[in-house]
Amino acid sequence: MPERAATCAGCGCGCDDIEVAVAAGALERMTGTCVIGDAWFAERAADAPLVARVDGREVDFAEAVEASAAILGKARLPLVCGLGQTDCESQRAAVALAEAIGAVIDPAGPVVDGAVAAASQAIGLSTATFGELRDRAELVVSWRADPVVSNPRLLPRLRLDRAGRAAERTLVVVDARRTATADEADEFIELQPELDFEALWAMRALVRGVPLDRDLAAQLPLEPLRELTERFRVCRYGAVLPGPGLVATGDGYVNALALLALVRDLARTAHVVALPLRQEGNARGAEDVLAWQTGYPAAVSFARGHPRARPGEFSAAGMLERGETDAALIVGFDALAHLPPRAADNLRRIPTIVVDPRPTQTAAAARVAFATSASGVQREGTAHRMDGVPVPLRAPLASERVGDEDVLAAIKARIAREEGT
């Protein structure tokens, strides 16, 4: 049974040391995957002859492209979203298509996933790749992140799990409750929800020697935070791993700003970085491709013929919630299962085109659904890990299907033919 190399894009870790055994064209066994990875490969490994459906009816590729072009061509303000689970090559094709039809495009994965990245646009970011965190970081704080659950191989890869962690390195967890990650840590600091901003601002005040508001300080676990701040100040290399919980309560954007501002303050005395955790396998790639093609990492409108970015206004969830879009093209994202209820309801009311290797709920409800080969399973491509490092996606399995990139390019070509350009 041949062992083939693979890269898992089941989360933002982009583990490129996976081996899969293939028998009779199917995945027989995988080595190196975590539970998320197992599910990720399994969901994408099925390869049925089905290529596309229009209104529930099985059709050939050309007819589905035709129907997609018709929907998008008629739309006043189409939305292109998803993107975080496909490869950079397809993301590139998605931006090109969005531009051609004057759409709004937004990588709409888990809503909280991009908040730290958005905040970093305002003040910047001190960050590092996995190898640096693994080999240099002596103090690591997981801030409302639970990587043991969300990115199971992250701690072992950074040698931060209990078994792999050297004695001189410290892992601290700040969260509202004892998580699985807290069980791996040297120290757990309990911080109530809704108090992230206050805690981070207090730490900034401690770094800068500014007196604290006494009432505010009384709500915080002040002593542990003071100790933590002091440890950062004297460490050689410190790191913060902000997780989705940071932006889930209060004003998430402001919380993210506070965290990045704290890291910036700390970086004046010690070498301190932050690595925002990402859930989707290529969420970082979606931001990167959008940024290089348009200048903006998210929430871009091409309605006026050039890119304009308005986080909030042009975010996929926001546009759907407000019922502002009249057609949607969704790439590799089970939108109905993950969007806020109101946005999902509105999505059901408009014609949708779904490009996805998986038979999702969103694909089942779509006017046009393309069943594609999966990047990383049946198709090669590139993904950017959460730390920005590009890794190649392999194709351990063969497939008859076309890739997301091909579908997007074909729809664009069909629309261009219509326009006669």
Partner: protein, 552 residues
């Protein structure tokens, strides 16, 4: 097939200096002659030069892209609409990829070198270059703070000993790179050891058994041994620090007798003492360069107005952060490099900024050999590439220059020789040298930067204009690979450019040496590190290394 008829031709590589003649193009190349009745451009009264070649710019890759994300305000203010032949985009000091390609082409540039790619991120740079139309592009691979390389240098002696040379060639092949870049060798690694740096060539990189000098000597030796078309491209230690001219001279001394190109020399030409006000040491550096034909530099001119500083020299960015108090990015890249980004603005009234501006001009005006002191703004560090026309006017138009000198901080000007006897005005022939012929020669691109038979059919035609800024800002025609890309200042088509990459042989056995070093330092598999994806690497042109030195 195209004849550019009766223009005034400046082709310094072939000794042609303003002669009225025809340039014939066919099959993407310059040819001797064409039938007289074919398509032609009437270039009477116009100036004809080879397409521009930028030897040092930052246009693609993770650092550039991180800078784009920082600049929504700039992008909002400067947009490009989609047209029938072009993609949309945004501009500012760090334009989107499509905008970068179009704007370089509209400026008459047809070849651009990205000066700093971390090898681990080569796929990212290549993907961006694929979306940077028209221009042929190459990139230089960062090797000056590479931990596996440090180990090989420490174990192998200081003179490009075997394994270092093999590793340099391996890294170029693995990434699709063109040449080798050293940025603050040793210093960026020290930045990751608790925000420190090196301050001289002989500081030890803590715990690693190498010094900047050993890194410089070993890598420069390897580059020479391989016969790479472009010499080692060095961003010296102590960038921006008062008194750093001594480090720059030390570096040149260490590299004496070996080919070397110094990046953005202006940022390394400061007298004075660290922490105090700098002064100019441009005359001393210009003199040294004159005396050493094996050495060259691009100037890294500062232009007043907005800029974005982006550098692998992360400790420098931390200093700039303290100056601006504004946005700051730091990105540590495992085993290879760092990265720092700070949006910046150069102001006429600021002593240091005015001094930097003046030192750049001194380097241009004092250098006796324009083939070895070529034009750059270290885009976007000293200013956007869009400011090249203004810089050309500063060099060509003494009256304009003196008027500008009168506007800026006079204390700074008094620390330079600009007021003394620098009456020099660049000729069109000299401009052709510092913007195309010189960079092409320093890069070892035999088919670029000239209009001799067999050269690439990359040609720029300018309307004669007394205002040289206007003349160079809006070429009448730009021809790339024989196709008319720009006509009357408008894009007519926007084909893809080629990747220019080096072809240098290496012994496959080096992977056995590298494997344990990879496993120690990287978080990706060695098997996944070399770029093999054809869609990222093609179309490409391989420029061969010449180990016997026959290319030089």
């Amino acid at each position: 097939m195209l004849r550019i008829a009766q223009g005034r031709v400046y082709d310094p590589a072939n000794g042609i200096d303003g002669e009225v003649r025809d340039v014939c193009l066919d099959g993407g190349k310059v040819v001797e002659e064409l039938p007289s009745h074919g398509p032609r451009i009437d270039a009477r009264g116009m100036v004809v030069m080879p397409g521009g070649v930028d030897i040092h710019s930052h246009i693609a890759g993770p650092a550039v892209n991180a800078a784009r994300k920082l600049a929504p305000e700039e992008h909002r203010a400067d947009v490009l609409d989609r047209t029938a032949i072009t993609r949309s985009g945004t501009g500012g000091t760090v334009p989107s990829t499509f905008a970068t390609g179009y704007r370089y082409a509209l400026l008459g540039y047809t070849t651009v070198v990205d000066a700093a790619t971390p090898p681990l991120a080569a796929r990212h740079t290549l993907a961006e270059l694929r979306d940077t139309p028209i221009v042929d592009a190459a990139f230089l691979v960062l090797m000056g703070n590479n931990l596996p390389m440090f180990k090989l240098i420490r174990d192998g002696g200081s003179d490009g000993a075997g394994s270092v040379t093999e590793a340099v060639a391996w890294w170029l092949e693995a990434t699709g790179g063109y040449g080798v870049k050293l940025v603050n060798p040793g210093g960026v690694e020290m930045w990751k050891h608790g925000n420190r740096n090196v301050t001289s060539l002989d500081d030890e990189v803590e715990g690693l058994g190498v010094t900047p000098r050993r890194v410089l000597e070993a890598i420069a030796g390897s580059v020479d041994e391989l016969g790479l078309p472009h010499p080692v491209h060095v961003h010296c230690n102590n960038l921006g620090v008062a008194g750093n001219w001594r480090t720059t001279l030390d570096t040149l001394d260490a590299l004496q007798g070996r080919r070397a190109h110094l990046a953005h020399l202006q940022f390394h030409a400061y007298g004075g003492t660290p922490g105090k006000r700098p002064r100019s040491r441009a005359p001393e550096l210009a003199e040294h360069l004159d005396a050493h034909p094996e050495h060259s530099a691009d100037v890294g001119q500062v232009m007043f107005g907005p800029a974005t500083t982006m550098t692998a020299d992360a400790p420098v960015s931390a200093l700039l952060r303290e100056l601006t108090g504004g946005k700051w990015v730091n990105a540590d890249l495992e085993a290879e490099t760092g990265c720092g980004i700070v949006p910046f603005a150069y102001r006429e009234r600021n002593y240091v900024h005015a001094l930097q501006w003046a030192i750049g001009l001194e380097l241009f005006l004092l250098g006796r050999d324009p083939w070895r002191v070529v034009l750059s703004t270290d885009h976007p560090n000293g200013g956007s590439f869009l400011s090249y026309p203004r810089l050309i006017r500063l060099l060509m138009d003494r009256e304009f220059r003196n008027e500008q000198i009168g506007r800026v901080n006079q204390k700074a000007i008094r620390r330079t020789v600009l007021r003394d006897d620098l009456e020099r005005e660049y000729t069109l022939g000299e401009i052709a040298i510092i913007t195309r012929a010189g960079p092409a020669r320093l890069l070892g691109l035999a088919d670029k930067g000239h209009l001799g038979v067999g050269a690439d059919a990359d040609v720029t035609v300018y309307g004669e204009h007394e205002d040289r800024e206007q003349m160079f800002a809006t070429p009448r025609y730009v021809i790339k690979g024989g196709r008319v890309i720009v006509e009357d200042g408008e894009l007519r088509e926007a084909p893809a450019g080629e990747l220019l990459r080096v072809a240098a042989d290496h012994d496959e056995a080096i992977e056995r040496t590298l494997r344990p070093l990879f496993e120690e330092h990287y978080s990706v598999q060695l098997a996944n590190y070399p770029v093999r994806e054809p869609w990222l690497l093609e179309p490409a042109r391989r420029v061969p290394a010449r180990p016997d030195g026959s290319g030089r």
